[in-house]
């Protein structure tokens, strides 16, 4: 088994997850780059036969948590860094992407991770528990809260953290 090729095949999926997790293409690729380097350094620790994908996601998770701690930032962005509310109805794809970026940014990071690993990356609950190093029951409770909050944010029922800009 060629470790390098196996990792290459996972890069697009790592980028997709990081893009949704970080909400910004450059930050996302920073995270992917760090994850690849870490995986490379630690590749001897990866046991053949073990699923590569959850292991890579767990590396990314640890880096993401470290990054948040190091920067001393909670999951908070300056208002002027947040995408503007939709102004034109012609760019449906772009609008949906921005709405989702914003809704995800309003979830606590630990809920966002579980929501994305389940809904977007389609990992099994057990794989997620391993990747995030939390009990299965915690995966389920975070998933439940994440879905409720995500719905509330998307339908505008959540406590408004954003100032509404009138058109």
């Amino acid at each position: 088994m060629n470790y390098r090729d196996a990792i290459i095949a996972e890069i697009p999926r790592l980028r997709r997850y990081a893009r949704a997790l970080a909400g910004n293409g450059d930050l996302a690729d920073d995270l992917v780059q760090d994850t690849l380097q870490r995986a490379l350094e630690k590749w001897r620790l990866w046991q053949q036969g073990r699923e590569l994908r959850p292991w890579l996601f767990s590396i990314m998770h640890n880096l993401h948590v470290d990054g948040r701690r190091r920067d001393g930032r909670l999951d908070y962005r300056e208002e002027d860094e947040l995408p503007l509310p939709p102004q034109r109805a012609s760019q449906h794809d772009g609008l949906e992407l921005r709405d989702l970026d914003r809704a995800l940014a309003l979830l606590p990071p630990e809920q966002r991770e579980v929501l994305l690993l389940v809904g977007l990356e389609e990992l099994s609950y057990a794989e997620i528990a391993t990747a995030l190093n939390i009990p299965l029951g915690t995966v389920m409770s975070r998933l439940s809260r994440a879905r409720a909050r995500f719905k509330a944010v998307l339908t505008g029922e959540a406590a408004p953290l954003l100032k509404v800009v009138s058109p």
Binding site: M1, N2, R4, D5, A6, I8, A9, E10, I11, P12, R13, R15, R16, R19, A20, D29, V32, Q33, L36, Q37, L40, W43, R53, D93, E96, L97, L100, D101, L115, L116, V118, G119, L120, E122, S124, Y125, M140, L143, S144, R147, F150, K151, L154
Partner: protein
């Protein structure tokens, strides 16, 4: 005696993570509690929205800065790099060197075909709910779209006689331009992918060949327009039969 249905079961149902026995129990419970379906549908709609927004990242060329530093010798050397379908640097180098070294590149290009195909196979085959961009129910639209993007008429081969149905297809990027990928699945959920890319106009056709790439069996060949590679993991003999079936349908 069955365990009562809990919210965790409903999440697992929405996510397709229940085993067969529990699935039956949850389905009969839902039949008696139809009002609980609305929430399930909301959860599924959330996942679908995430895919619509972020799946495009899967097909993007990789930015060159994702390449690990030069002091990481176990990572990839440049020649390998150029063989990876979605690496931007390969696109740039390949484009710059194309005219000067066409005949030498022809060989290299054909050699890169099974490798690119196997990597693209490994990326998309595990996708559970969104393995393709356009589904088989829109086959005419799919084929017309991919033909237009590849610049020559294309078709999706029929593998029904071997038990495989078309799932759909997607468009990818490689250093030789845009690439079509068709995906097939049989009743046991085994998947095949057919990778089709444009070949250089003067490239000579090559015969039917076999390569094993990381446990993926690949049968590949080129004609005057396209390079084709059929990838799967159902064993070499089986793949040989399937590959022959596809090869014949393209006039091989």
């Amino acid at each position: 005696m069955t365990t009562p249905i809990a919210e965790d079961d409903l999440h697992a149902y929405a996510d397709g993570q229940l085993d067969a026995a529990r699935l039956t129990q949850v389905e009969s419970w839902l039949a008696a509690h139809p009002e609980r379906r609305a929430r399930l549908e909301e959860w599924r709609a959330q996942s679908a929205a995430l895919h619509r927004a972020y799946d495009r990242v899967l097909g993007e060329p990789l930015p060159a800065r994702l390449l690990p530093p030069a002091n990481a010798p176990r990572w990839f050397d440049l020649r390998r790099l150029a063989a990876v379908a979605w690496v931007t640097l390969g696109l740039v180098l390949g484009f710059a060197l194309r005219d000067q070294t066409l005949s030498r590149d022809d060989k290299a290009a054909v050699a890169s075909l099974p490798r690119q195909a196997a990597i693209a196979h490994a990326v998309f085959v595990p996708e559970v709910r969104h393995p393709v961009e356009v589904g088989a129910e829109q086959e005419a639209h799919l084929v017309a779209w991919l033909s237009k993007r590849l610049g020559a008429p294309l078709k999706a081969p029929q593998l029904d006689s071997a038990g495989y149905k078309l799932v759909g297809g997607r468009l990818l990027t490689s250093e030789s331009g845009e690439v079509a990928q068709f995906m097939y699945e049989n009743a046991e959920k085994k998947r095949l992918t057919l990778y089709v890319r444009r070949e250089a106009p003067k490239a000579a056709a090559t015969a039917f060949r076999y390569a094993s790439e990381n446990g993926v069996d690949v049968f590949y060949w080129t004609d005057s327009r396209f390079g084709y590679a059929l990838s799967g993991s159902t064993g070499r003999e089986d793949m040989l039969n399937l590959g022959s079936l596809v090869y014949k349908q393209f006039g091989g």
